[in-house]
């Protein structure tokens, strides 16, 4: 039997070598995060979005570098400040043959906020829409309260359903595959919850035809097991390659990697809320300090200057990240050009501490999750080393995300390591992470350190009303510079997204971390 397996493997390898020319074939891929639902409006969650991208389409798509490109809408424009118009792509059909029209778009916007039991709905993207006008079967107009420049970006998150097919479809119908019918490049063949999803090519897809006939989309959550499955040849493609395996995979002749700078920043949040004693800060004898040292800009700058970001990137992340001094990486809209990652300067940091009245430093606890971001607990320890060296004796406590995130959300920590995946637009991190917490405006929902700066808020406000892209970019850059100079957060690095595949395949790496089968193709024959 072993011989038979090997022979089969050999045959597969031969088929592989010839794949440059062979037409129809199958792909087996494994992802690290489980897909929990095929209902595209049920849970706003990256793994679900990746699969939804395979089955469905959006009005506005994003390319690999997260720029907006036409999807089911061929063009869009603001007719006037409070009114957007989208021209829809003609001749598009759903998997079941039903035609795609403006009615379907209107139906989708209606369904999005009304999915029962949704733990995180997509309503945040459709809420700004105050009115929908169907101009003709392939033109639709959306009315908003005042100017809303983010409409196309918001709609790049919303997958379009069919009015006829999905009128009464429940989340369960989608999960069973019955209602998993879209306009996307793949049809669902079967779905085994938590295990695998099988797809088959949609031969009538309006866009670029996928390269494979069938795709077996598996979920292997254990990092080492996923890498091993690739090395053993059980799967041909994996995502979320652990950094500890990078060195080996780069040397391995059977494997190729694809990578790109992502949009996820890892940073340290600080307690800006308390002016009196902060819970995890004490003096060197372990007695509480009556005032919160983190309210002093000099202390925050010292903590930032103490960190050798390049060392963390090269030693802890094994090169799979870029040191950061701001939210967005280079090449993305509203990145601030002259704001590099701070260079480490322990001496200057010590001087700043002394000026702030802490010549001998103090004690602090740095909290961190240990199962959420790549090497999260390791990064926290490295930061702990660096802070300790400037006299801020640091204890590191790492815990699972389940317990960590609730405590962070209740402002229980003095300093905490956390990450943020941005949309490619400065207002997204600004509004969520550093704008003053405000329920009415919906700002600062993830501002867990409760940083607050009225001047910054005014700048964000102005940017969000500016319809001119160039002018808005300038406003966003100024706001980001202000937040960084005030050390609202301490940015560490931006993660690199890495995928690995058997040789003979190529992949277009995506900044948004989504793993989709249509981005994989046989490598051109050499």
């Amino acid at each position: 039997m072993n011989r038979w397996i090997r022979a089969a493997g050999l045959a597969a390898a031969t088929a592989f070598a010839a794949s440059g020319t062979a037409a129809a074939q199958n792909l087996t891929m494994a992802v690290g995060a489980p897909v929990t639902s095929l209902d595209p409006h049920y849970h706003q969650l990256s793994p679900n979005n990746a699969v939804a991208d395979m089955i469905f389409d959006k009005l506005v798509n994003t390319d690999a570098q997260a720029r907006l490109i036409p999807g089911l809408a061929t063009e869009w424009r603001a007719v006037e400040p409070g009114l957007w118009e989208f021209k829809l792509r003609p001749g598009v059909r759903f998997h079941n043959g039903s035609e795609f029209t403006a009615e379907d778009v209107a139906f989708t916007f209606q369904r999005v906020p009304n999915v029962p039991n949704s733990p995180s709905s997509f309503a945040i993207y459709t809420r700004p829409i105050r009115g929908v006008e169907i101009v003709d079967s392939h033109t639709i107009r959306l009315r908003t309260d005042g100017p809303y420049p983010l409409m196309p970006m918001g709609l790049s998150n919303v997958r379009i359903l069919d009015r006829e097919t999905h009128q009464n479809a429940t989340t369960e119908d989608f999960n069973s595959g019955k209602a998993a019918i879209g306009t996307g490049p793949w049809r669902v063949v079967s779905h085994r919850n938590g295990d695998r999803i099988e797809f088959e090519r949609n031969d009538t897809y309006w866009g670029e035809r996928p390269a494979f006939q069938r795709v077996d989309y598996r979920m292997i959550t254990n990092d080492a097991a996923r890498t091993a499955a690739l090395l053993a040849g059980d799967v041909e493609f994996i995502d979320q390659v652990p950094t500890s395996d990078l060195a080996k995979l780069r040397r391995d002749q059977r494997v190729a990697l694809s990578e790109t700078t992502g949009l996820r920043i890892i940073y340290i949040g600080l307690d800006h809320l308390r002016t009196d004693a902060s819970p995890f800060i004490t003096d060197n004898d372990g007695k509480p300090i009556p005032r919160n040292p983190l309210k002093d800009l000099r202390v925050r700058r010292a903590l930032s200057l103490a960190i050798d970001r390049q060392a963390i990137v090269s030693r802890v992340m094994e090169g799979a990240a870029t040191p950061a001094g701001q939210f967005l990486p280079e090449g993305i809209y509203s990145h601030v050009p002259s704001l590099p990652a701070p260079r480490p300067d322990p001496e200057a940091a010590k001087k700043l501490l002394a000026e702030a009245g802490f010549p001998n430093g103090f004690r602090i606890q740095l909290n961190s999750p240990n199962d959420r971001y790549i090497n999260d607990a390791r990064i926290a320890q490295a930061v702990g080393q660096m802070w300790t060296r400037i006299g801020v004796r640091t204890a590191v406590e790492a815990q699972p995300w389940t317990t960590f995130v609730g405590r962070a959300g209740k402002q229980e920590f003095s300093a905490f390591l956390i990450g943020w995946g941005s949309n490619p637009e400065g207002s997204h991190p600004l509004r969520n992470l550093v704008a003053t917490y405000d329920r009415e405006k919906g700002w600062g929902a993830s501002n867990r350190g409760r940083y607050s700066n009225p001047e910054l808020d005014r700048m964000i406000e102005a940017a969000l009303k500016e319809m001119d892209d160039a002018k808005r970019e300038k406003l966003l850059q100024d706001a980001q510079r202000l937040a960084m100079e005030d050390v609202a957060i301490i940015p560490l690095h931006i993660q690199t997204n890495i995928w690995a595949m058997r040789r003979g395949l190529t992949h277009t790496p995506r900044a948004d971390e989504l793993t989709r089968a249509q981005d994989i193709r046989p490598a051109p024959a050499r």
Binding site: S37, P116, T171, N175, R192, A225, G406, S446
Partner: protein
């Protein structure tokens, strides 16, 4: 006998109730499911909507009452994550775990009993000492580590077995089973062995200890003195006696295997209940956690009942307790 069973049934209901209370309090203490499930993009209004949608806006005791009322009607609630009935989710995953646990128990008895018997009959031979030393490895090496080593050697280096996942399945009685296909069996070998490591050691040790004791018993001496063949003495008189502790422990461990197959299932990407529960714990999917634990408790109570009944059959000295 009937009284005995009825009493056990009452106790079971109480235990299940206690368990559900514990889980409610426990999950509440661990964290907030909405914080974990919500998209980072969500604003405050969306967060409030989600809290309401999942019924988490009520005080804990009211949430529990709602749960009890529904549970009385056979509805254990929908999973926060999958929006499917928790019970159905678990039952879907159950065959995978069951067959893994059966496979592991099978391995344990197949390997453990003969080795333990040998080590017990010839306690001083070097082979026996080797067996005993080897059995120590079985429970000193962390499961996750052994699992990865197995994958490294047999899947990556040698290419003999598939590295992870469940193989082809066949639908029987509305459930998917993989032990009926050759591909499925191949996928099962490594995880089942990984899961059985601890149990193999346990069976070896229990068998050996039992054999050594029993060999000194008067009835065994008498049987030998009667001139019965050593094989007959060993397999009829000794073996029957040592089965009691082995049955107890293997029975207990079978439940344990199902409850704790979490690590093996996550290393081997085995889509069973263990994988489901660890994923559910990670996102605090309370309906699934509650339903899972209630099922597991019921299973344990049943297993213990069976073990007690078996006791009374195997060893007439033990009588079922019926006095009050």
């Amino acid at each position: 006998m009937t009284v005995f069973l009825l009493r056990r049934l009452m106790q079971a209901a109480l235990v299940v109730l206690a368990m559900s209370v514990l889980v409610f309090i426990g999950v509440y203490a661990i964290g907030d499911p909405v914080e974990i499930l919500i998209s980072p993009d969500a604003d405050q209004i969306e967060r409030e909507r989600a809290i309401q949608a999942l019924g988490l806006d009520l005080p804990l005791w009211q949430q529990y009452l709602v749960f009890l009322v529904k549970a009385a009607q056979g509805d254990l609630g929908n999973s926060f994550v999958f929006n499917e009935p928790a019970l159905q989710l678990i039952l879907q995953r159950m065959p995978a775990t069951l067959e893994l646990a059966v496979g592991a128990t099978f391995f344990a008895l197949l390997v453990g009993l003969p080795l333990g018997l040998y080590a017990g009959l010839r306690p001083n031979s070097p082979v026996s000492k080797g067996i005993m030393a080897g059995s120590i490895l079985g429970f000193s090496l962390p499961t996750f580590w052994v699992g990865l080593m197995l994958i490294m050697v047999f899947a990556v280096q040698l290419g003999w077995l598939p590295s992870t996942g469940r193989g082809e399945t066949v639908e029987v009685l509305g459930m998917r089973w993989s032990f009926l296909t050759w591909d499925g069996i191949q996928h099962m070998i490594m995880p089942a062995f990984n899961l059985s490591l601890f149990k193999i050691s346990l069976v070896i040790r229990l068998t050996r200890a039992g054999v050594r004791e029993t060999m000194l018993m008067d009835y065994v001496k008498f049987a030998r003195a009667k001139g019965l063949s050593p094989a007959r003495v060993t397999f009829v008189h000794v073996f029957k006696n040592i089965l009691i502790p082995v049955v107890t422990v293997v029975g207990l461990e079978f439940g344990g295997t199902i409850a704790f197959s979490v690590v093996t299932e996550s290393v081997f990407a085995w889509p069973g209940m263990g994988k489901l529960i660890i994923d559910s714990i990670n996102v605090l999917d309370r309906p699934v956690i509650v339903a899972y634990l209630m099922i597991i408790v019921l299973m344990f109570i049943t297993i213990n009942l069976i073990v007690d009944l078996t006791y009374s059959v195997l060893d007439p000295r033990v009588r079922l307790e019926t006095r009050s």
